[in-house]
Symmetry: C2
Subunit: 409 residues, 2 copies
Amino acid sequence: MKVIVVGAGFGGINAAKTLAKNKSIDVVVVDKRNYHLFQPFLYQVATAGLSPADISVPIRAFFRGQKNVEVIMGEVAGIDQKSRLLKLSNNKNLKYDKVVIAAGAKNHIFNQDWAKHVYGLKSIQDALSLRKNILMSFELAEVEQDPVKRKAYTTFAIIGGGPTGVELAGAIAELARFTLSEDFRNIDPSDTRVILIEAGSRVLSTFDQGLSKKAKRALEKLGVSVWLESKVSNICKGKVELGSDVINANTIIWAAGVVSTDLAKDLEADVGVNLKRGNRLLVNEFLQVKGCEDIYAIGDISYFEKEELPGIAPVAIQQGKYVGKAIKRLFKEKEIRPFSYVDKGHMATIGRSKAIAQIGKLRFGGTIAWYLWVFIHIYFLIGFRNRVSVFLQWLWSYLTYKRGARIIN
Amino acid sequence: MKVIVVGAGFGGINAAKTLAKNKSIDVVVVDKRNYHLFQPFLYQVATAGLSPADISVPIRAFFRGQKNVEVIMGEVAGIDQKSRLLKLSNNKNLKYDKVVIAAGAKNHIFNQDWAKHVYGLKSIQDALSLRKNILMSFELAEVEQDPVKRKAYTTFAIIGGGPTGVELAGAIAELARFTLSEDFRNIDPSDTRVILIEAGSRVLSTFDQGLSKKAKRALEKLGVSVWLESKVSNICKGKVELGSDVINANTIIWAAGVVSTDLAKDLEADVGVNLKRGNRLLVNEFLQVKGCEDIYAIGDISYFEKEELPGIAPVAIQQGKYVGKAIKRLFKEKEIRPFSYVDKGHMATIGRSKAIAQIGKLRFGGTIAWYLWVFIHIYFLIGFRNRVSVFLQWLWSYLTYKRGARIIN
């Protein structure tokens, strides 16, 4: 049996690893990149705390010794369901018995005119462009004579009060307030304005009300302005408009939602599947795309019919492992039970020593939550070397307030 | 007194640090980048061993607490010697009493038609493009059906048998032979051809004959073909011609010489100074540009009249410190002695456990030389954090043969 896994994110890599244990199954992993990315730490790359290689592992490295796994770096163009062919953009076709779609999500900026004025944060490229822009802003402010322009250079507007927006806001505020505080002669980086804009009534709305409040207070203590119930009405170059309010900001970051990668749309055209909110592929209780039992979809690209699941790593990981096991059982003609998600709790971090956690009935915030957050994230950061490297860099940053990747290139 | 230092390489950073100790001197450091680069390790970035941030330190970080030092990120457009003005490319002028030119060198590819087909190795950008191309070559070979094209993808031609060429050849051979050996299914990376092309009669010609031979043997043991007395007659896309010999190589690397950065040419036009071989600024025994006693030049951009000095870090470091001290003594109206270079020996490395060293009358090679090389280079890699990080990554690579920065982006 030949199984193709499309995408080597949290979902895909776990599906492939689970499948690969059965040596009679040929596994092919297709990804347009050569690395698995630990997305929860992208904001650390964007704010010069870590390097891209610290949060990436070559996909081939996962399957080095496993001869039943082939890795192909390439882009998927579509699926021919009848002939069970996966079409690559280089015009090559791969035959499959089962295919697992784990191609993830991309930024969803609903107004295309706005898109060219904002920075997203879904890829290494995004993170590096953002890092360059953040660091350059302070350099440009340092040599700017016009006080109005200077202020715009050191203003950062972040749209979206979810985990990414909150983490970025905290990290940029700390960069300005601590890391860069003594580095300039003409500007005071601690005058930097970081404005977090949220359309809803609170930040981190998937958490309990009380934790949202804690997070907001922690952000404000770092000097972040949190604007709630603020709807963006227009974005143009260096400017965010919220009704009659206008923010002049050299850096505008979009952290307000994602949509499935284009493969979902391609499948709608090729196979005629149903797309749900955010262009996600509707999957049944066995994570099969509705109407095509040979095609599974997991993670951010999928929409679980039974209950709506959040677009977070634990969901993708559990779904990846489930699909791997389900296909192996199918191969052995054993009975398969439906997928169910086990919520082990969730966490978010705000700056260098605050976090909030919601685990079962437990709700807590502050430094203890932060230590727990660090421990869990380092533990899950796949690959031994990255774990040590990231831990040391964090320790170093924590003790010195310095950042290791403060280079503009 | 106001002293401007142009360039924050080994020469400039040492000049500025030495000058800054006298709080009555205002020091301005101008560089087009925001970081000091540890150039000797660029080949490690190009071959996925280290990340850019591991070999870079923000210039501002050197002078954090020193209020008499200002750092300006910007490009120099020229010098108005009469009014003692340094002109920046953003049309701003900086007044100086003394200026230290430490703007370094760039790749010298004497045929412009060749330049677009080769990779250089003088900047982080160079190293990242080269890394991307090296890693992509194996990916493309893996999916290529045509055996002739496949061979070209895994052929690496390196032009120039100096330290950079030798280090790159060794590192690429090791990458293919050890790191990637188990990662592919359709190709065997250890069939990779690495060809080191040298016009002269031996590699590392600044070393003794015996050490050159040792280095050549060490390279050959790693599987590198060393072609001596081989002159490149033409380079076109994917092809190097040496008379009637032709190498089809997807990756062609230029490591055959450098020339001063454009500032030297600008000074020739603005000030009318003399340029020597490689467009270098002729300097007198006090490292002053001949005919302009307010302008000093050090490192790769300078040509020392008394004796020809190699373009290596120790020369730039000694010259930087000397100029710093000389200007401080001038400021205090003390007598100044001419510069003289103290040769503390030199070393080159070939792969993961071989090096050669020539120190005073001592000549040795092998593993001991390699340990010495590691020790000295880690020691000189400025900035505590980078030292620890680089050391750990090396240890990790050494023990596991893995590489930390194997991402294509």
